[in-house]
């Protein structure tokens, strides 16, 4: 009995020591980690957002769900860029769910007039060498979205070439580009019918940094 209690006490001691170590390191690093995450998001947003906005981009954000345009129960985060209270553009972070290998997380920047500023891939698990041409470092494919609208190309042309659309597919990888084209098209459609909501909705109260 005494032996068991002693063992339990030792294990408890190890647990307490480990936990206090973690708590200490967490306190030491928390602010720096938050800063780093903020930097990463700003870098990503900076690739597609105009640089003449004057509102705090990271704080002026909303998140919402919309099963019809953004399926699988995902939560979309939208960052609004404004200049002197006038809406300039919005960047939505959402997922293309029909990738070849899991979800593809995208950032799509849409101007107030409904034209695409640009699209970037944040993370994906597509096949290296085949589907990863969606990264800016690998090919320029994703840059082709800039300037596109719901009318140009017309809706039935919002597809990869194999499906009769205007977007190139990759050799050996059609599924990846198709998933992205679809998801971006749905995002544009959502923007068209919810523009007021996207820009007028009061921002959620941001504690620290964006997710």
């Amino acid at each position: 009995m005494k032996k068991i209690l002693r063992s339990a006490a030792t294990l408890g001691l190890v647990a307490i020591l480990g936990t206090s170590l973690l708590a200490g390191v967490d306190r030491l690093t928390a602010s720096r980690i938050a800063e780093q995450e903020k930097r990463v998001i700003l870098e990503q947003l900076g690739q597609i957002i105009p640089d003449h906005y004057d509102n705090p981009l990271l704080q002026d954000r909303i998140s919402f769900q919309d099963e019809q345009h953004f399926p699988n129960g995902q939560t979309v985060t939208a960052y609004r860029a404004r200049q002197q209270e006038e809406p300039l553009a919005i960047v939505m972070k959402f997922q293309a769910v029909n990738g070849y290998n899991g979800n593809i997380t995208l950032l799509a920047g849409i101007n107030f007039d409904g034209s695409l500023r640009g699209v970037r891939v944040i993370s994906h698990k597509e096949t290296p060498g085949l589907g990863d041409g969606i990264e800016t470092g690998k090919s320029d494919w994703i840059l082709n979205f800039a300037g596109k609208t719901l009318q140009d190309p017309e809706p039935q042309k919002w597809a990869v070439r194999r499906d009769g659309g205007v977007f190139d597919q990759f050799t050996g990888a059609t599924i990846t580009p198709r998933a992205i084209v679809d998801a971006v098209f749905q995002a544009l459609r959502f923007f068209e019918s919810n523009r007021e909501f996207l820009f007028e909705e009061p921002p959620e109260i941001a504690e620290g940094t964006a997710p």
């Binding site: 063992s7 294990l11 980690i33």
Partner: protein, 230 residues
């Protein structure tokens, strides 16, 4: 035990990746480029040094029946601390390595060294053993990463900037310009093939060096350098 012998074991005779074959999951998954391999290898080495040191310090305190849960807690704490530190100071590298940093906890090589070495030796040799084992693992990872990166992408040290900042960017080499990419080397099957070749190469070198001894080992069905389980 002599320090020289500890290093010889960790780096060559008992190399975790090439002889003992522990911790193969991260070894195969993260060895697609040299920088990824080096990042995970160094993080694992640091974990091994600290966990071996802590286990050795606590070895008088831990009764046999609770030693394994205690090791797990120690290792998990150490890995989480390293994860937080990487997140704070090597954020971009951390984002590339992703889930494989927390998964260092499950690398059996670490609990293996705690059990086989640190629980029976004093702190100083234990820390050395952690360093040697970790460097051995790191070397195997980097060798594998170099093979796969050169064959698969035609580059070496690409994305070194993630680790060494501005200085690192000058380390990035393109060995084969306009390399079309060799998919097999980048994908997991290529990792298995390259690891097989590395192990064969290591065994061949061993056999060549010890000559007659290898012959003897073959007859008794015992590999040189496989004397003790880890």
């Amino acid at each position: 035990m002599k320090i020289g012998q500890i290093f010889k074991d960790g780096l060559w005779q008992q190399n975790t990746g090439l002889v003992v074959l522990l911790g193969l999951c991260p070894l195969l998954a993260v060895s697609n480029t040299v920088v990824n391999a080096l990042g995970l290898g160094l993080a694992t080495t640091l974990t091994l040094v600290i966990s071996n040191l802590s286990v050795s310090l606590a070895r008088g305190l831990l009764r046999p029946e609770i030693r394994i849960p205690a090791y797990v807690m120690i290792i998990a704490s150490v890995v989480t601390v390293i994860q937080l530190l990487m997140q704070a100071w090597f954020h971009d590298l951390y984002r590339v390595l992703g889930i494989f940093i927390p998964l260092i906890v499950t690398n059996c090589a670490i609990i293996g060294r705690a059990e086989a070495f640190a629980s029976r030796n004093s702190p100083w040799p234990s820390a050395i053993d952690g360093l040697a084992t970790g460097l051995g693992f790191c070397l195997a990872l980097v060798a594998l990463g170099a093979m796969r990166e050169i064959i698969g992408r035609g580059t070496l040290m690409s994305q070194a900037g993630l680790m060494f900042g501005k200085l690192g960017e000058s380390l990035e080499l393109t060995l084969i310009p306009n390399h079309p990419g060799f998919l097999l080397a980048i994908l997991p099957p290529g990792a298995f093939i390259a690891l097989g070749l590395l192990i064969a190469g290591r065994n061949w070198l061993d056999a060549k060096r010890s000559g007659g001894k290898a012959q003897l080992a073959e007859n008794t069905g015992k590999e040189p350098g496989m004397e003790s389980p880890a």
